[in-house]
Amino acid sequence: MTRFLLPIIAVMMAASPVAAVQPDEMLADPVMELRAREISKELRCVVCQNESIDESNAELARDLRLVVRDRLMQGDADDQVIKYVVDRYGDYVLLRPPFKASTYILWFGPLLFAVLAVFGGWRFYKARGGSAIAATVAAESAPPPLSAEERRKLDKLLKDTDGAGDTA
């Protein structure tokens, strides 16, 4: 089994997103470098907007990676580094939207729609099983009541049929 799996895993690993970090940017301390990489993955490149600065080859992304590393070396905690960049570019640079009043609709929107859908479905089936829609449909599809003339004709026909026996 491993004979099959190993090459497949190797190929998949080779195809994983390649970082744009150049060797000359990297910090000497691997722990610090790892922190810098993790922070960089959270920050959007403002030039090529769907990439993080960790993935982007844009020069501004490189400059931002260097700023991140610089802040780390000056002793900033991870969230301080992120705050430093957000102070300059706004929440926009965060690839993960922050949880706050202006983004509640983003976080709760899907839940809200799910609740609405369940409620709507419940209303629909309740109405169909019991009364409302069924009654409306019945009322709409029922033919208009017979006029006096029609009623008289019908009575006559029924009487005739009775006389002629069961022909229905």
């Binding site: 403002v46 907007q49 706004g90 926009y92």
Partner: protein, 179 residues
């Protein structure tokens, strides 16, 4: 009344259509600046070679100024440059330049030699530190700074005659009257 519910999908579709149509006209590259109404970041940049007049944040107080981010590598900057040159000829407002990420600052000097030099002071930002402090996403960008050194407006992309006449000029006049 019951039948109105069948209109809901059409109304939702119409709302989405309007939203997307408006969205089509928007430039996704313009990111709202968080620096509006905040003081300019403090910085001190070196002058371009043989030009003198370096730029630092203390130069941005006392009067309304424009700060223009440009680079000799920036194509759109060539498009806006004649307009900046014209503005500087009228003497309406001092324009300071930040030459952004020049591999060799002499490139910026050559570029200014070729296209004209509308700037009062010019600082060279080689490693983007000041550009990042200004929240710059690309060149050109132009900031309007009030006499207290507070950023009041940011224009992304080339300044056109329309932008100058309709936005920047009225804003500068207003800031002079009631800062």
């Amino acid at each position: 009344m019951k039948k109105l519910i069948y209109l809901v999908p059409i109304v939702v579709l119409a709302a989405l259509a309007v939203m997307f149509t408006v969205g089509l006209g928007r430039d996704p590259k313009t990111i709202p600046s968080v620096l509006i109404d905040r003081p300019v970041p403090s910085f001190a940049l070196e002058a371009l070679p043989d030009r003198g007049k370096p730029l630092s944040s203390t130069d941005l107080t006392g009067q309304v100024t424009l700060v223009n981010i440009f680079g000799s590598w920036c194509v759109a900057c060539i498009a806006e440059h004649p307009i900046l040159v014209n503005i500087s000829k009228t003497g309406e407002v001092p324009i300071h330049g930040i030459a952004w990420r020049e591999k060799d600052p002499r490139d910026a000097m050559r570029w200014l030699g070729r296209h004209g030099d509308p700037y009062d002071r010019v600082g060279h930002d080689a490693d983007s530190r000041v550009a990042i402090d200004f929240g710059v996403t690309g060149a050109p960008e132009t900031f309007v700074v009030d006499p207290k050194g507070v950023i009041r407006y940011k224009h992304i992309g080339p300044v056109t005659t329309e932008v100058w006449e309709n936005t920047l000029k009225p804003l500068i006049a207003q800031l002079r009257k009631s800062p």
